[in-house]
Symmetry: C3
Subunit: 350 residues, 3 copies
């Protein structure tokens, strides 16, 4: 597995939305590992490997007893740290009896798990998705179970020229594929910035802006490895100064995406669209969420087809164009994290 693993383990991954987790047992596979998640009575979230120490029965088939999980097969009881605290028919507890527990942080409406070395689990490294619970922004999202490696979703989001071809009836138009863009990066993020000036807005944005005429449109994509992409998007009427920094006459949103490997070929893809205008309109929230659900459905079909093509020809690889600058930087940042986890001896042997 480690030879071909495409994702780092020493990273925070979104395992769920905050509202997905309650005082019941939820089974979810994260990074090829079966995990069971639940909330303790104090509201904190516990994440344990979903396989009993005794006979590998899934703990998620058992039940919660207060803050502890009771295995549904032979009744072993584990606390939220994974330690076995009761064994029926045993006078003494085997001190080695435990299941793996994973560091958890709840932040920005997601439950984040650290799948690697717990000693390295620094909460300050949780990816930045602060718009998700910032009252200055409103929106709603969904979870997509994408039938592809998580990097194909990253590629998709780092090159929005695909909107012209995949989403031509909603978000895309020729302007995106024709517009120049700028690729930059620093130690933490990689960016693609694209300004489409003095264009006709595509249907979605024309409707959001609610004003006739040409617009300046922007897409400022930010990648944070291993799997988080935020996209600052919007339009403003031409001549109102958006490219120079004054977006006041326009409309602005953030497409927030974080992708978590379920397996090498499937992905938990959590997205949200937060807007900075008409915050109180729940109906608009629902309309936008449903419209994006339809648009992203077009991507899902492509993800599955592309993954199937790759599995058919695993050694062929990709060819790159100018438009892939963002994807190339994203994959380079991912690769650095993966390589940092390899045993030194293996690196030396290569």
């Amino acid at each position: 597995m480690s030879e071909t693993r495409s994702y780092p383990l020493n990273a925070w991954y979104a395992a769920a939305w905050d509202t997905d987790i309650g005082k019941t047992l939820l089974a979810r596979t994260i990074c090829d590992t079966a995990v069971v998640l639940y909330r303790r009575r104090d509201g904190s979230v516990a994440a344990l490997e979903d396989a009993c120490w005794h006979r590998q029965a899934p703990l998620s088939m058992g039940r919660l007893d207060g803050d502890n999980v009771v295995c549904g097969y032979h009744g072993l009881v584990f606390n939220g740290d994974g330690r076995c605290v009761r064994m029926p028919s045993q006078e003494t507890l085997n001190p080695s009896a435990c299941v793996r527990s994973f560091p958890v942080v709840e932040r920005h409406r997601h439950i984040w798990l650290w799948m690697g070395d717990p000693a390295l689990a620094d909460p300050s490294r949780v990816p930045d998705l602060h718009w998700n619970d910032d009252p200055a922004w409103a929106g709603d999202g969904r979870t997509i179970h994408a039938k592809c490696n998580y990097r194909l979703v990253v590629d998709n989001l780092m090159d929005l020229t695909h909107e012209t071809f995949v989403h031509g009836s909603s978000l895309g138009n020729d302007a995106i594929a024709e517009a120049a863009f700028e690729s930059t990066h620093n130690e933490r993020y990689a960016y693609i910035t694209r300004w489409m000036k003095n264009i006709d807005p595509p249907p979605f944005w024309a409707s959001q802006l609610g004003k006739p005429g040409k617009v300046d449109r922007w897409q400022i994509i930010r990648f944070e490895p291993p799997g988080t992409v935020t996209i600052d998007v919007g339009v403003a009427p031409v001549g109102t100064g958006a490219p120079e920094g004054d977006r006041g006459a326009g409309v602005n949103g953030f497409v927030l995406n974080t992708m978590t490997p379920e397996t090498e070929s499937t992905t938990h893809y959590f997205w949200n669209f937060c807007r900075g205008y008409r915050l109180g309109e729940q109906r608009l929230t629902n309309e936008i969420r449903d419209a994006i659900t339809r648009v992203f459905g077009e991507d899902e079909l492509m993800f599955a087809a592309q993954q199937k093509g790759i599995e058919r020809n695993p050694h062929r690889g990709f060819n790159n164009l100018n438009i892939d600058a963002g994807s190339l930087w994203a994959r380079r940042l991912i690769q650095q994290m993966v390589e940092a986890e390899r045993p030194r001896s293996r690196l030396a042997a290569e």
Copy 2:
């Protein structure tokens, strides 16, 4: 295959209930081998490999002609010993033309096949399930297609503390997990004996006994390798002498189980519940059979989940508790049979 095979071949395996086999062709996979079964005109059962010598067409897609099987593709005819007795368009029969036949014994309501060396197929080694057709006992059973290795079913039956956690609403209560038990064995069998004295009976047994008050309850589990488990179960009112040998005031049954590997990860699991009381009541027979079908359905879910967990982490292994004494002995007896079939040279190399 032989490296990882978990079952011995030199053993009798139940392939079917007696009533499953008639004068038609039945296809069934036993120990990873496709078999076709049928009755000859004299009532005896024939078992052949289900692949024609000529082009590997399944013989079960053909038809019976008297005691012979006619292949449904090109008409080769095989007798119940597997010898080809007719080849269309051939003047002479190829003397090597045959399919493998398996030794068969019909006993205790099962059709038993010997999948290993026919020279070793000693009918006296058929596992003892005599209650199945003993007029002193009445009952009815079913076949479960369990989605797990057959040893997981053995484990399940050798440790009945799981009743407390899996079957809490019917058979289980805390008394089982708390009661002491005795583990013994001899050359042929491994036993677990558990007496729960002066307890409240669980719902099923309260109903069977039909008398109020505390009971002494017993579970005497007997394992016969590779896959047969009989369980002597019952309750008697406290103080009527059951622990000392007088069960006359109580009710007694036998849970009869025999597990046959279909593949390494699936099992034909034949069970019957025979009771020694109210023998003539067909309605009671049906009620008990249906109740146990429901109870064993709870185990089926666990079997499949456990198997999936093992396949996800094949090298992790199990950890053992006191309650696993019976399972450990059962696996040891199985392992002896498997190792006895390995080539000597391979053993030496290990």
Copy 3:
């Protein structure tokens, strides 16, 4: 793959019926390769590998723009020769940007692809199925998606004794399995010729002939590697001279079959039945087509069962009878083609 490949690549394979291909994109897997097919405006057929050079998205998910294919993901445009002629956001085209194109010949109602070295793609080597579009013959056929290696279908057609056992109610009777046959071959074809003289016709042929009494029946099977089998079939009243060459009093048809590997274990099987009598009767065409569809449905079940048996015991192999003379010659001709494509060094090492 090449170690175990059962089919030659330097051969013409039917990919479709002529009417399957229009001015839309059709995805089909041929010889384990994903292909997209379409017609150019001049009616000629283009066949490209169904994976974009850029990111392996299936081109069949894109759209046609005149004679070119536009990838549905990022808009790269390929012409019918596979050359990329447009890349959005690129000022210059990468000269190496292309997808594989396959030589195509449209002949005898089929679209034939050459999956090997294009330099060897000689149109004179397209298999002979001229009856398909000869006005002296009338008929209609279908495509079967057979769940087996293509050679199992060849085997089936080269030995029609199976009609006795698989199709006893329509085409077969004991006469076929009992009749002598002659096996011949030349550099291009292998033949099996079988005359059944003075027999009762089976139901299908009795109905076609429409005359009472005994008949002479013929089956003259011709194999052209790697996957084409034509069968000259018919009956004539006894004594009217058919065996001597005068078929004027009888009825004659050709069962035309060409099998194309989709994968090693699945086959595109195109068949047609052309008759030389009652040419103008469309109703008869439909009746025969539907009758044969039912008959071949019986073979499909056997193909899938046989393939499954082979996959269960891949090293067991087949045993051969007199009736397999045609199949043996067919496989020998196939094997010659496959071996001619192996690298010399590998042959030397064997």
